[in-house]
Structures are given as structure tokens and as C-alpha cells.
């Protein structure tokens, strides 16, 4: 990753005929950066990605790559490449022909084409699948091929629209790790769309949190986790307890920022409701007069707490938001 800006979305608005869409989106993506658009379903992530790919026209604003506007170009003329959630591959072509299609259109000679196809397949660990048809492969394998097909075209910006969300949890995890590795090795610029905050945290150099057609917050995973700017972001990223403070505001506190001791006192007192063992830490749910509160404690304290125990809570760090 470096400091040059590869892609800019400038005050972009896209409204569909029914009034839905995205408004006033500003976004810069640096060369070699992996930026994630994160938000609940329907918040406009796909809309942004498809305007960049050229599949929908914008209502207002501009999109530039290397400083040049691309909004008048059709998809086939844009230096972007897109991977969708599913149905990416052409079912009547073999893996080889799927990969070769774009190379042929670029009039690349046969021997170089074959070389690039082989490279692409080994990048996604799919050597030997040349003769298979998409219908003969699992969903994960198809997505690997789809990613390879995009990669070998060497796009300026790679666009990925929830590419792993149709896959099993285990394969999804593997694919994330591989994608991240390929992306840093090749230093490619990627915009990745997901509604899964965990996925976004794992993958991203930078996360763009979206809500209802606009950007709520942009920043590194750390920045967003440590300093959520709004009640929405605080609730969407990571675990967070929200407590009414009685003045129309809400106190927010992360489970790991709560210290618990046995007995009375503290900022808040409560009763242990459940204790759950989660490997090297414990998750406890406490009944308090401000509602249920979730806390994490070290597993070496496991024997200290039991259901029904009276406990005292102290907060190391809190946030305050206007009630939504």
C-alpha cells in the first residue's frame, strides 16, 4: 500500500426511480489498499460497487481512477473487474475457457494466455481444474476460479461483492486468509463488500461503515472499534452494552472494559445470570437494574463466579451516544 490515490468516489449520488439508493458518497482508495464497505443489507453497498463497475449510472457526482473520470465508460472499457456473490462463471465453458475469455478479448497471444491462466490457477490453488465445468465444482471452488479470472486481467481496482457469503463458515475463513495474502503479495487495490463485521475486521486496511444509503464512518479496523462515532457504528461493530443514563443519552461500554468483583458496590451492581466458557476467556451475562450486561473475564477467574452471585461492576472505558 502507498499514498497515491487509485480510486476516488466524489460526492456521488445514485437514486433509483423509487427513491432508494445512496447519497453524497465520498471515498478515496489508495493503491494497494483493501477497503471494505460494511453495513447491513440494503444500506447501499452493492449500489456503490456497481456504479464503480459501470453497471449502473450515477445520478450525480464523479468517479475517477488514477485521476481520470470513468463514469462515461461502459463496463467493458473500465479498468475494474468484479466478482459477484454467485453465478459468476459461464456454465457452458470450462474453467480454462472462462479464464481465457477476457485475455482473448485483449488480443493477448496464445502462449502468454496459457501462461497467465496457469499462474491464475496456482494463485488460487486450483491447478488441474482447467477441464472442469462450473457445474462440476463446489461453490468455494467456483469463487476461487472467479477471483482468478478477475486477477489475471490485472484490473486497476478489483471489486468483490460479498464473494464468500454463500460459502460454509470454514471455507469462508480460508478464502479470506488467502484473499488477504494474494492481495498484499500482488499489491492490488480492492474494494470488498460485506455485511459481516468480523469479515471486515479480519480483511481490511480500512473499513467504510454504511447505514441507510450514506457513510457513517471510515477508518482502520482499530479506529472504528476503539472510537465508534455513532450509536449505529457502536452497535454494529463488535460487542457493546448500551445502558440508559436517564437523560436521553446512552452509555455504551464494551464487555472487555467492564471489571467485575464479587460483592456490593461499584458503578452498577448485578447478579450473575449465565457463565459461558469460550476458550481462554469467559462470557458472563449479568442482570442489573439497567438491563442485561455482557462482560468478558479471564478464564483463570472461572471458579470465582457462579449463577446467582451478587457482583459489583466498574467501567474502564465508556462512550456516550444520543439515543436513536
Amino acid at each position: 500500500m502507498d499514498d497515491t490515490i487509485k480510486l476516488s468516489v466524489i460526492n456521488m449520488t445514485k437514486l433509483y426511480s423509487n427513491g432508494d439508493g445512496v447519497k453524497n458518497v465520498d471515498l478515496d482508495v489508495h493503491t494497494g489498499e483493501l477497503v471494505t464497505l460494511l453495513g447491513p443489507s440494503g444500506c447501499g453497498k452493492t449500489t456503490i460497487l456497481r456504479t464503480i463497475g459501470g453497471f449502473i449510472d450515477l445520478t450525480d457526482g464523479d468517479i475517477t481512477i488514477d485521476g481520470k473520470s470513468i463514469i462515461t465508460l461502459p463496463p467493458e472499457k473500465r479498468p475494474t473487474s468484479m466478482v459477484f456473490q454467485s453465478y459468476n462463471l459461464w456454465p457452458h465453458m470450462t474453467v480454462h475457457d472462462n479464464l481465457e475469455f477476457g485475455l482473448k478479448l485483449r488480443k493477448i497471444p496464445k502462449d502468454i494466455r496459457e501462461q497467465k491462466i496457469a499462474e491464475g490457477l496456482s494463485l488460487v490453488k486450483m491447478n488441474g481444474f482447467e477441464k472442469k465445468y462450473p457445474g462440476q465444482m463446489s461453490g468455494g471452488q467456483q469463487q476461487r476460479i472467479a477471483i482468478a479470472r478477475s486477477l489475471i486481467l490485472e484490473p486497476e481496482v478489483l471489486l468483490l461483492d460479498e464473494p464468500f457469503s454463500a460459502l460454509d463458515a470454514k471455507i469462508r475463513m480460508e478464502m479470506r486468509e488467502e484473499l488477504r495474502k494474494i492481495q498484499t503479495d500482488l499489491n492490488i487495490t480492492v474494494i470488498f463488500v460485506t455485511h459481516d463485521q468480523e469479515e471486515a475486521m479480519m480483511l481490511s486496511d480500512r473499513i467504510v461503515v454504511m447505514s441507510k444509503g450514506h457513510i457513517e464512518q471510515q477508518g482502520t479496523p482499530r479506529q472504528i472499534y476503539d472510537n465508534p462515532v455513532s450509536r449505529f457504528v457502536a452497535g454494529f461493530i463488535g460487542e457493546m452494552n448500551f445502558l440508559d443514563d436517564g437523560t436521553g443519552k446512552q452509555i455504551a461500554v464494551r464487555p472487555e472494559h467492564i471489571s467485575v468483583t464479587k460483592g456490593e458496590g461499584g458503578i452498577l451492581s448485578g447478579t450473575v445470570r449465565t457463565v459461558m466458557m469460550l476458550g481462554h476467556y469467559l462470557e458472563m451475562t449479568l442482570d442489573t437494574d439497567k438491563g442485561l450486561v455482557k462482560v468478558y473475564i479471564n478464564s483463570d477467574q472461572a471458579d470465582e463466579f457462579e449463577k446467582g452471585d451478587k457482583v459489583a461492576l466498574n467501567f474502564d472505558h465508556t462512550y456516550s451516544y444520543n439515543k436513536e
Binding site: 463497475g53 453497471f55 473487474s81 468484479m82 459461464w90 456454465p91
Partner: protein, 295 residues
């Protein structure tokens, strides 16, 4: 201990009395199977009976109406039919019309079907529906009306006139199924082609058309068979210049015994069977179902 025993006992009794026991179910199913087989048999007889009868008649030299089996077997009527002067020519004509009408309607209808499948515009459903209405009209009334127009513009008895009549049927076949096939091509696959660098036209020919192809082939086969079977229209506007197998068949049935008609029927059925056989890999319930959605 005591409790355990009672539980065991209950289970034992249940096994013999329970109406849902494996034995009872099997017995009931057996009875049902027999019924199903009987229904299937009656249906098969109803469906294939006339076919078998016609097949038998075709190889009868002498057959008295009412008999079950012909009194003399042989190829008498085959040689008779094949010696008729008009018949080879009429077979040729049938295929000529079928090829031309199917081919032309493919050229016209495939783009139209694509437009109907992919673009939302006012009156789209109405247009789709109107192709069905065409089938609802009594054909003979339509042909009479067409005949009047043909007389006025001099199309009566011409190749082009008959071809148009055949295309009336084939175009209808070539709209619905192909539109359904185009609709079932996932949009993402077309977008992926654009994304890879293909323009709209190349995308259509490299991605959309090949994926929709099975449905189109089935439609073309229907159209072809439909054209081979067209009779009334050809009879009204084609005769005497243009004769097809079907129009000749009318003559044969009117002028000769049933055995001659049977021979002719088999001659007509053979190409249809062949076509179905060749196209069998395309004909699936799935392709058919896709075609009959309004969408």
C-alpha cells in the same frame, strides 16, 4: 424391573395390532400399486392403442373393418403409396416449408424473445399473452380471412404464401420457450462478460445465447414438427401448386382404404420420431417449465 416389563409388553402388543406396522403398510401399498398399474395400463392402451393399430394396418394387405388382426399381411400398400407420383415431391415440399419456416422464425423470434425477456416495458405481458391468443382462434376462420387477402395481393398458390401460413405457427412456438430460456440466464453471467471486456453483442453471442440454447433447440423442434403437421392452411392457400405430405394425406384418406392412410401416417411419424430422438438431451421438464412462465 416391574415397570420395564410392562413397557416391553405394550410394545409387543403394538407390533401386532398397530395399523401402521410395516406389514400392514406394505399390504396396503401392494393393493394401491395394483390399482396404479391398472390405471397406467388403461392409459397406455388409450394413448398407444391407435398408434399400434395404425402400425398394424400399415402392414396389412387385406383388412376387414371390425377384425382385430388383418386377414393378409404384406407390403402391398407401401409399394402403392410410394409409387404415387405426387408423394416424393410432397415429402420434399413438407421439409422445405418446415426448414424455411423454422429458420426464418428463429431469425425473427430469437431477438424478439430476448427483448421480451430482458427489457421491462409497457405492454410486455400483453404481447406475450397475445401470442397465446393466436392459438385460441379457430384456425379455419383465420385462414379464410388470410385467403381473401391473399387473393387480393396475389399470394394464393405461391411458395411465399404457404411459407407465411407455416410461419404463423412457428413464430408462436419460437417466442415463449426462448423468452423463458433467456429469462433464466442469470444477469450476473452477462455482466461478468461485459466486465471481462466484451461488448453487448459479443456478450449475447458468447454467453447469453449458448446458455439459452437448449430451450431454443426444443422450441425449434416443436416449430419444425408443427410445420410438418400443418395441413388446413396449406390446403386452403397452397393447392394445387403446393402440396405437402399432410395435404396429400387428405387425398389418400378420402380415396383409398384405411390401410393406405396408415402407411402414410407412419411415413410422416418417422421424421418426427427421429427429430425427438436426436433432440432428446435437450428435452427436459426443466427447459419446458422455464418456457411457460409469464415472468
Amino acid at each position: 424391573m416391574e415397570e420395564n416389563k410392562t413397557a416391553n409388553d405394550t410394545m409387543q402388543t403394538e407390533r401386532t395390532v398397530n395399523p401402521y406396522s410395516a406389514k400392514a403398510v406394505r399390504r396396503a401399498l401392494g393393493r394401491k400399486r395394483t390399482g396404479e398399474l391398472l390405471i397406467l395400463f388403461v392409459f397406455m392402451l388409450f394413448f398407444y392403442g391407435p398408434l399400434i393399430h395404425a402400425f398394424m394396418l400399415a402392414f396389412a394387405n387385406v383388412y376387414q373393418a371390425g377384425d382385430i388382426i388383418p386377414s393378409e399381411w404384406g407390403f402391398h400398400w407401401w409399394s402403392y403409396i410410394l409409387k404415387q407420383q405426387n408423394i416424393p415431391r410432397s415429402i420434399l415440399n413438407s421439409f422445405l416449408f418446415a426448414f424455411c419456416s423454422t429458420g426464418l422464425s428463429m431469425l425473427i423470434c430469437i431477438p424478439a424473445a430476448y427483448v421480451l425477456a430482458r427489457f421491462k416495458f409497457k405492454g410486455r405481458k400483453l404481447i406475450m399473452f397475445s401470442f397465446l391468443i393466436g392459438n385460441a382462434f379457430p384456425k379455419i376462420g383465420m385462414y379464410t380471412a388470410i385467403g381473401i387477402i391473399y387473393y387480393k395481393i396475389g399470394l394464393m398458390g405461391t411458395f411465399f404464401g404457404v411459407l407465411l401460413i407455416h410461419m404463423l405457427g412457428t413464430t408462436m412456438e419460437m417466442i415463449w420457450l426462448p423468452a423463458g430460456s433467456f429469462r433464466s440466464v442469470p444477469k450476473h453471467q452477462e455482466e461478468a462478460a461485459r466486465d471481462a471486456g466484451a461488448g453487448p453483442v459479443r456478450t449475447f453471442f458468447s454467453v447469453t445465447l449458448p446458455i439459452a440454447w437448449p430451450g431454443i433447440v426444443v422450441a425449434a423442434m416443436h416449430a419444425f414438427i408443427g410445420s410438418l403437421g400443418e395441413s388446413v392452411g396449406t390446403l386452403l392457400v397452397g393447392l394445387p401448386q403446393w402440396r405437402t405430405m399432410m395435404t396429400e394425406m387428405y387425398g389418400v384418406i378420402l380415396d383409398f382404404p384405411a390401410t393406405a392412410g396408415a402407411v402414410f401416417a407412419i411415413i410422416i411419424v418417422v421424421p418426427n420420431m427421429l427429430l425427438l430422438w436426436i433432440m432428446r438431451k435437450y428435452v427436459s421438464a426443466d427447459t419446458m417449465a422455464k418456457g411457460f412462465k409469464m415472468g
